[in-house]
Structures are given as structure tokens and as C-alpha cells.
């Protein structure tokens, strides 16, 4: 049953050293503020999973929080490679993380299977490629009706799912819209969940009868963090800060510069800085629609 908490308390109560965590958000609604709180609280030995580990995981990895990463596409979208990830994998800085690598289809199906309470996901995939040779968690099974061989991967069932949503009501029912990615599946697949939201309102308002709503009893903690997705975006609130994604390439290229940025913007900051970041960028040309 959802409890409405500060982000600090939500992370302190629900994320522990050694947990497996899915910070999800498919370009839209990436929970940056929550990841920064995890870094600030010094969590270690995390197994992190994410279809598209972009800046958010580059930061977690560079700050030494991560033991293992389950992923499908690790890049700064449209910009290039992830330099902190590369430094870990290629040079062991700050330490070498373990990788479990899948395709997008596999991970999307694995979250779906996790939400559906199944032990594995079954799909048509991985034919002719090398990934099954280096990942023991890719197996096959045979359709008992047609004999077709299908791919199977274990379902993803993290200890904690962390997402950013548009809004919640005061009971803790959570609403998201637009590119919803695998967030609903991640929350339903997880043992616990933390949802940061742009706003907490009396009533979710006149949403579609088929809106993506996570009932309060599927969510563990809700924290209001306006701007909490920045540099990702929140549909109807603020756009993607593409310029920051481009700028990250240079910030992350150098260990010292990376550490200085993290010190100034994460370790010595708090969740409140996110509201400032999006308001200074967008107030002139974007009105929240919700």
C-alpha cells in the first residue's frame, strides 16, 4: 500500500546495499532524481537492470554503486557511447562491473513475464546471433503444437522498481501517459517500488477509462519531485533536455570532470534542484497541461 514520503525517506526505507533494482523509463520519465538520491545515500553492490542504460546508469556505475548490470542497449541515445560504463568494462575504473546482456525484445518480454508472475518469458528471438553463446540465461524451448523452437529468458523480478510518473493522488494511485515503456511492468514485477511524481493531486482528473494507472496497493512509496526526470522529460510538463544529453558526452569523458560534476550536482545537492532545472529551461515556452 503506497506511502507518500520524501524521496530521501523513500530511498532509505526501500533500497539496501546488494538489492536488485530496475530504474526504468524508456527515454521518457527516467527517474534521475531517485538515482541521484541512491548515489547520495552511498548504496553499494547493486544489481541494476534497465533496457537502455543511458546517463542514469553511467552515473551509478561511475560512482561505484553497481556490481552487475542487466541490459540491452547501453548508449547515450543519438550521441554516442557511455564513457563511465566503458571505463569500468575496459579499464576497471572504479571497478569492473559484471554484465548480463540481452536484446530489447528479451528484456521487454522478461519484465512482462515478471509482471505476469511467470518464471520465464517465451518469444521468437536471438536466432543466428552470438549473444546466447555468452549469456547462459538465454535458453530455448519447443512449442508442443508446432515444434517451433522459441527463445526463453528468466523473468525479471527486481527487489525494487524505481520509476518517475506524471502524478499521483493523495491515496497513492499513480498515473502515467505518453511513452510508458516498461514502467508498469517493472513496478508489477518488483517486490517493492518507488515512484517519483511531478505532482500529487486530490484527484487524477478526467483521464481515459483505460489510462495507465498503478493502483495504490501495487506501489510502495510515492515521492513528489517536480522535474525529477531531468534531463529526460515528462510529457505535458517539460521537454527532453537534448542539449544536456549532448553535453554529458564531454562531462563523462574525463574522470575528474565527472567526479566534480557529481560532487556539485548530486552529492552536495538535493532533490529540489530538479524543479529549478526544468523551470529555468522551460517556463518561457511550455505550460504544464496537467
Amino acid at each position: 500500500m503506497a506511502t507518500i514520503l520524501s524521496l530521501k525517506d523513500a530511498v532509505a526505507r526501500n533500497i539496501h546495499d546488494g538489492d536488485s533494482i530496475a530504474f526504468e523509463g524508456f527515454t521518457h520519465l527516467i527517474p534521475h532524481a531517485a538515482a541521484h538520491e541512491v548515489i547520495r545515500q552511498g548504496r553499494k553492490d547493486l544489481t541494476v537492470m534497465r533496457m537502455t542504460p543511458d546517463i542514469i546508469y553511467d552515473q551509478l556505475i561511475g560512482m561505484g554503486c553497481v556490481k552487475k548490470m542487466i541490459f540491452a542497449f547501453a548508449g547515450n541515445p543519438g550521441v554516442g557511447l557511455l564513457r563511465r560504463l566503458r571505463d569500468s568494462v575496459e579499464n576497471g575504473w572504479p571497478h569492473r562491473i559484471e554484465l548480463e546482456e540481452h536484446s530489447h525484445a528479451a528484456m521487454a518480454n522478461a519484465y512482462e513475464a515478471g509482471a505476469a508472475g511467470l518464471p520465464c518469458a517465451v518469444f521468437r528471438g536471438y536466432r543466428g546471433v552470438d549473444l546466447p553463446k555468452v549469456n547462459a540465461n538465454i535458453k530455448t524451448l519447443t512449442c508442443p503444437f508446432t515444434g517451433e523452437e522459441l527463445a526463453a529468458v528468466p523473468s525479471l523480478r527486481p527487489d525494487v522498481a524505481v520509476i518517475h510518473a506524471l502524478k499521483a493522488d493523495r491515496k497513492g494511485n499513480v498515473f502515467l501517459e505518453g511513452i510508458t515503456g516498461v514502467q508498469k511492468e517493472a513496478v508489477l514485477a518488483a517486490k517493492r517500488s518507488i515512484v517519483t511524481v511531478e505532482d500529487i493531486v486530490d484527484d487524477l482528473g478526467p483521464v481515459s477509462s483505460n489510462a495507465t494507472v498503478l493502483p495504490r496497493w501495487t506501489v510502495t512509496a510515492v515521492a513528489k519531485v517536480p522535474g525529477g526526470a531531468h534531463p529526460s522529460y515528462a510529457q505535458g510538463y517539460y521537454p527532453r533536455d537534448n542539449a544536456f544529453y549532448i553535453a554529458w558526452d564531454a562531462i563523462s569523458a574525463d574522470r575528474d570532470r565527472f567526479q566534480a560534476w557529481m560532487r556539485d550536482n548530486v552529492l552536495n545537492a538535493g532533490p529540489d534542484v530538479f524543479a529549478e532545472r526544468v523551470s529555468s529551461r522551460n517556463s518561457a515556452h511550455l505550460e504544464p497541461t496537467a
Binding site: 524508456f26 527515454t27 521518457h28 533496457m51 537502455t52 541490459f71 540491452a72 542497449f73 547501453a74 548508449g75 541515445p77 543519438g78 550521441v79 557511447l81 557511455l82 560504463l85 566503458r86 568494462v89 575496459e90 546482456e101 536484446s103 530489447h104 525484445a105 521487454a108 518480454n109 519484465y111 512482462e112 518469444f123 521468437r124 528471438g125 536471438y126 536466432r127 543466428g128 546471433v129 552470438d130 549473444l131 555468452v134 517451433e148 523452437e149 505518453g178 511513452i179 510508458t180 515503456g181 516498461v182 508498469k184 511492468e185 522529460y233 510529457q235 521537454p239 527532453r240 533536455d241 537534448n242 542539449a243 544529453y245 549532448i246 529551461r281
Partner: protein
């Protein structure tokens, strides 16, 4: 006629390969530019799908990521990512999947995973993302890549997505029923698979490109079709529309 870049020619040649009836699974970069150029010129009813879940999208600027808000704002509808991979890609509804990569071999197999050994890579690339299943579930695959000795290699370090394997029976032997890569569109030429061997063969050279230019930029001895055509140069409409998209995109992404 000389007033265009090889990169523009590549995007324009890719756009021309698309038709009004196509349902395209669009990747970022050159594919996104090509698909939207097609939509804004000869194929206004083409359906563009990005794997973030946006179906029938019509962005005014090119997205930097596959999930920019512009894609959702202009889409017919937006579905969850599990649904995108299950109902739309695996369901067999994509006519053309667009792929690129860090390395390609002569059979259209692609590597976007590692340079060097998998466990101790020289360069850790982003990984496959949607590519392994785009390569097997789309009716056919178009590949766009700039030619270079580093990228066009004799042997891939890692097979991230499957093309034609090493010959005509390999897709069927792997249990794949779709056509696979049918066009390779580069900054220098258009290549198509040889009907017998499935090896990519140059069928059209872009204006001003020589066979030697091709040979100098691929890590194997390239084959040429019996009759190699010259790719028609970009029309002024194609160039104008493409440059307008890029200008709008640059302005949007740098926040100016």
C-alpha cells in the same frame, strides 16, 4: 549536382527505397532522417514506428532519441514497449526494419556489441537493443552505414544481428522465414544481395563514386552487379526538404 554531401546522398537513396504502404521500424540517425524524408516527399502515408512505442508518428524535427516527446505528440497512438515488441514487431506487422552498426560483413550480418573479445573488449559498444529481433521479424531489412575499412570487415568480432549468415540457406537453417537485408545503402553506393550467393553486391554507384572508392573502403574484395547503375543525384526538392529537417533538428536539440 555536386552540391550535396555523401551523407545526404545516402539518406536520400534510403528514402527513395521506401513506399507509401511501408510500415517502418525506424532507428535513430540516418534511418530516422531517411524515413521522415520519404514521408515529407513521395510517401506521405508511410507509417513510421519507433520502438519506444509510437505508431504512425510524424515528427517535425528528428528525434535525438527513439523516444523524444515529439514522436508521441504526433503519433496515431503510443503503446507500451512489451506490446511494441510482441504485437507489432514479432507479430509480423513491420515491412521494413532499418539497421546500422559499427561493423558489417559482406552478408549483412552486423556487430554493435564489442570490438575485440566479448569478455575483454577493446571497445565496449552499446549492444544490440532492438536489432536482433528487428533483423528476424521485419519482412525485410534495409541497412544504412558509411563505408570504411573499420566498419566493413571481412569477419565480425561479434554477430549482434543476423543478416544472411554465410550464404543462401543460413536464414532458413536458423529458423528465420523473413527476407533479411535486401538493401545496403551507404554514402558511396547501393548494394543488394546476389540472388544466388546472398553476398552484398554493388548495384548502383552514387554520382562521382568509382569502383576503386568502393574497393578502398571495404575489408573484402567487393562484388559488382553485371550492370552497375549510377544513383540519380538528389533532386532540389529532396535536398531542400532534408536540409530543412536537419536545420529544424539542430535548432531544437541545441536549445537555440
Amino acid at each position: 549536382m555536386s552540391d550535396f554531401t555523401p551523407s545526404e546522398m545516402m539518406t536520400i537513396a534510403a528514402a527513395r527505397a521506401l513506399s507509401n504502404d511501408d510500415v517502418c521500424f525506424v532507428g535513430i540517425g540516418a534511418p530516422s532522417a531517411a524515413c521522415n524524408l520519404a514521408r515529407l516527399t513521395h510517401a506521405p502515408d508511410i507509417t513510421l514506428i519507433y520502438e519506444s512505442g509510437t505508431i504512425g508518428t510524424a515528427p517535425d524535427v528528428l528525434p535525438l532519441s527513439i523516444g523524444d516527446g515529439e514522436l508521441c505528440d504526433t503519433a496515431l497512438t503510443t503503446v507500451s514497449v512489451p506490446e511494441m515488441f510482441r504485437y507489432w514487431l514479432q507479430g509480423g506487422r513491420i515491412t521494413v526494419g532499418f539497421l546500422g552498426g559499427a561493423q558489417i560483413d559482406r552478408f549483412g550480418n552486423l556487430n554493435t556489441t564489442v570490438v575485440g573479445d566479448y569478455n575483454t573488449p577493446k571497445v565496449r559498444l552499446p549492444g544490440g537493443g532492438g536489432a536482433p529481433e528487428i533483423a528476424i521479424s521485419s519482412d525485410e531489412v534495409f541497412i544504412t552505414m558509411k563505408q570504411s575499412l573499420r566498419g566493413f570487415v571481412d569477419k565480425l568480432d561479434f554477430v549482434t544481428s543476423f543478416g544472411h549468415g554465410a550464404g543462401p540457406d543460413d536464414r532458413a537453417n536458423a529458423g528465420i522465414t523473413t527476407k533479411g537485408p535486401t538493401r545496403l545503402i551507404t554514402d558511396l553506393a547501393v548494394w543488394r544481395p546476389d540472388p544466388a550467393t546472398r553476398e552484398f553486391t554493388v548495384t548502383s554507384l552514387h554520382p562521382g563514386v568509382s569502383r576503386r572508392d568502393i574497393e578502398d573502403t571495404v575489408g573484402w574484395t567487393p562484388k559488382f552487379a553485371d550492370s552497375v547503375e549510377e544513383t540519380p543525384a538528389p533532386t532540389s526538392e529532396e535536398l531542400t526538404v532534408l536540409r530543412d529537417i536537419h536545420a529544424r533538428t539542430r535548432a531544437a536539440h541545441t536549445g537555440t
